[in-house]
């Protein structure tokens, strides 16, 4: 089928035809597998630091299962690294909205992560509706929405709607934020 890194063919190949194997080395694949292996090593080392209560009644202590998980993770990651080194690259997921010939657009991913990070500050500082407005507007703009102000307006509407449905109707304590707290319906 298709390969991990796909060089765009000269003429746009229609609808996901398999493209030629790209010559680029699989740095990302090695790195991801290596991080997984490192997590496995961490699981094994960390298991040694789990305190076993003295005189524990159960035969199998709290360390055994973590050891097993760590060993599985390390073994499987090493197997993946061997596979990749032998040229068996991963097959990226297909999907309805995926352009199989597009190279990975790291910039958009970074923008989306940035938009999502604003939630950490905005939800509690400016309230849920504002946080949704910023996240929705920012994400839609990053993904190529043509008019950013429409995106912001839809985001604000979505934020208010979710605040009403989940916050007021279902009774979740979503913070309305200083801008809306004076309105009685948002005040719980």
């Amino acid at each position: 089928m298709t390969d991990a890194t796909q060089a765009p063919l000269g003429a746009s190949a229609p609808g996901g035809a398999p493209s030629a194997r790209a010559a680029r080395p699989a740095i990302g694949e090695f790195a991801f597998a290596a991080v997984c292996a490192a997590l496995g090593v961490y699981a094994i080392v960390g298991a040694g630091f789990i305190r076993v209560p003295p005189g524990s009644a159960s035969v199998l202590g709290p360390r055994v299962f973590p050891y097993a998980v760590g060993v599985l993770l390390v073994a499987a990651s090493v197997a993946v690294i061997v596979q990749v080194a032998r040229g068996h690259r991963g097959v990226p997921d297909d999907g309805e909205d995926i352009d199989p010939d597009a190279p990975t657009d790291w910039l958009t991913v970074a923008k989306l992560i940035g938009c999502f990070l604003t939630q950490l500050v905005l939800i509690e500082w400016a309230g849920w509706p504002v946080a949704v407005m910023v996240l929705f507007g920012g994400a839609a703009w990053s993904l190529g929405a043509k008019r950013w102000w429409v995106a912001l307006l839809i985001g604000l509407g979505l934020g208010l709607a979710t605040q009403l449905v989940f916050g007021v109707w279902l009774g979740l304590s979503l913070p309305a934020g200083p801008l809306l707290e004076w309105i009685p319906i948002f005040n719980g």
């Binding site: 789990i50 352009d99 991913v109 989306l112 920012g138 994400a139 979503l174």
Partner: protein, 519 residues
């Protein structure tokens, strides 16, 4: 017939007006998210978990069951009408259905998928009705060693059979198991891998794992390779009444029944869910086709839509068998439904049919009702779903992000969960990017703690004697079945790869009538 009486009582409950409304709400939302690319039933159920705070258990579970079934119906609409292949469980439908639509027979494809889903869903729910109480009775006698065997079977089948290679599936499983370890260990009360952070002491919620991997991870991945330009939807003409000709009916009914027979058993065993069932059904129909139909395969054969769609829905019902009788979730959605049960303090498992029989039978009755509603929703209302399908992608994915953020924050009203969600989402993105399946990670995160609990119970009973794990006939059967399943699964995957390699290229020459909509 005990179960028949109980079922009738269940209907009496489920037909109450407010429960009918809940069921309608569930199937409606379920179909909508099934149609939309990028959101699945797992994430929707996760997002609607707050419903459990204000609804009674029966109402909430009826909503979730509706979403679960609705998601299966909606997926077929997408794969038939959208000019690109669909999600994994309905991608086989796209093989033939998409080509039928391009040849102007989209209406017939949609109808055979919807009616087939209805037939299979109803037949499989019937099987569930009569099988589940018996299995629950047997399951009462299972010990911890037997449960551990079942979970190991689930781990290895899901880990080894999903995705492009066995080690990748196992890495994904291992990551999930590691996430499942975080938190306070139940038996000895020790904290594990919490870095001393108080929020991590309660463990990482299943909702975060599912929403992170399915909603956030998927969105980031789609964003990295977004298909720009217009959303191309193949138009459907003709009124829904005469969608299927007499010939279409004659060619469809046998595949529906065969698909049901293939899908239901595969759904009940922990073997990776609907994906395997749809493929198996497709391969069967292709092999059995004679004459004209044989020539049509690869260019839009109705059997290739009818069979796999039926198998897909039958498998979805089959998944409910281990869920309700053993408390064993084999898909991500099932796992989140389990956590809905748990938020009411109900533990699914063999005792469920004894202790909560009213609830269980109302749930099963609502499945029959939901199936009828879905048939009505899907056939005449297809035009509305097509509109949903054309939501401009920047807004669609921005909305998914906003709802993912809501799901995370609403768990404990703590932005720390939002951060955990982002990290898991990033892992999900990288896994898709480098070809790792994400489903084993979800299953690992949910079943991992259960596996450890059962293993340690078993070891406590046997005083550390490992041979206790294989002392019962049930466990021995489970492990030997595991060996067969894995060998069979690897063989099937080889076949599938060969099939895909020989399938003719999709007809992508421009057809004049595609409606184009700006993103």
């Amino acid at each position: 017939m005990d179960s028949l009486n109980a079922l009738l009582e269940g209907f009496a409950t489920a037909l109450a007006p407010q429960y009918l409304l809940y069921a309608l709400f569930g199937v409606f939302i379920g179909t909508a998210v099934g149609v939309l690319p990028g959101i699945g039933p797992a994430m929707t159920v996760a997002l609607l978990l707050p419903l459990t705070y204000s609804l009674d258990p029966t109402g909430a579970l009826i909503v979730f069951a509706g979403i679960y079934y609705g998601g299966m119906y909606g997926g077929s609409t997408t794969s038939i009408l959208l000019n690109t292949p669909g999600e994994s469980s309905s991608i086989v439908t796209a093989l033939e259905g998409n080509r039928m639509a391009k040849a102007g027979r989209g209406a017939a494809a949609l109808a055979t998928a919807a009616i087939g889903s209805f037939v299979a869903g109803t037949a499989a729910t019937l099987a569930l009705t009569f099988l589940a109480p018996g299995i629950a009775k047997l399951a009462v006698q299972l010990g911890p060693a037997d449960y551990f065997a079942l979970i190991v079977v689930a781990f290895l089948t899901v880990g080894a059979l999903l995705g492009s290679s066995v080690p990748r599936g196992l890495v994904s499983l291992g990551l999930g198991l590691l996430l499942g370890l975080v938190g306070t260990e139940v038996l000895s009360g020790q904290q594990r891998y919490t870095f001393g952070i108080a929020s991590l002491a309660d463990g990482i919620d299943v909702v975060l794992i599912a929403v992170g991997l399915f909603a956030l991870g998927e969105t980031l991945y789609v964003a990295s390779r977004l298909r720009h330009g217009s959303v191309r939807v193949i138009p459907v003409t003709r009124g829904w009444r005469n969608w299927m000709t007499r010939r279409d009916w004659r060619r469809s009914w046998r595949p529906w029944l065969r698909g049901t027979a293939i899908g239901f058993p595969i759904g009940t065993i922990p073997a990776g869910g609907a994906d395997v069932a749809t493929f198996l059904s497709y391969a069967t129909e292709r092999k059995l086709a004679r004459g004209n139909a044989r020539a049509e395969f690869g260019r839009g054969a109705i059997e290739g839509v009818a069979g796999p769609e039926a198998a897909n829905n039958a498998a979805a019902a089959g998944v409910l068998v281990p869920l309700l009788t053993l408390g064993l979730p084999t898909t991500a959605t099932a796992a989140i439904i389990i956590s809905a049960f748990q938020s009411y303090g109900i533990r699914p498992g063999p005792m469920l049919f004894e202790n909560q029989s009213g609830l269980v039978w109302a749930l099963i009755a609502s499945l029959y009702i939901g199936n009828v509603m879905l048939l009505v929703l899907n056939l005449p209302l297809v035009g509305m779903w097509v509109k949903v399908l054309r939501i401009p992608r920047p807004y669609l994915y921005a909305g998914i992000l906003a709802f993912a953020g809501l799901g995370a924050y609403a768990l404990h009203f703590n932005v720390f969960d939002t951060l955990v969600l982002l990290v898991i989402g990033l892992v999900g993105f990288l896994m898709r990017r480098y070809g790792y399946p994400v489903a084993p990670m979800v299953v690992g995160g949910i079943l991992g703690p259960m596996a450890e609990e059962q293993l340690r119970k078993a070891m406590a009973i046997s005083q550390g004697d490992l041979s206790y794990l294989v002392h019962s006939p049930f466990a021995i059967i489970a492990y030997s079945t595991l060996a067969v399943i894995v060998v069979l699964g690897v063989w099937l995957k080889r076949r599938k790869a060969r099939l895909e390699a020989t399938a003719p290229d999709p007809i992508t020459a421009s057809l004049p009538a595609w409606e184009e909509v700006d993103r």
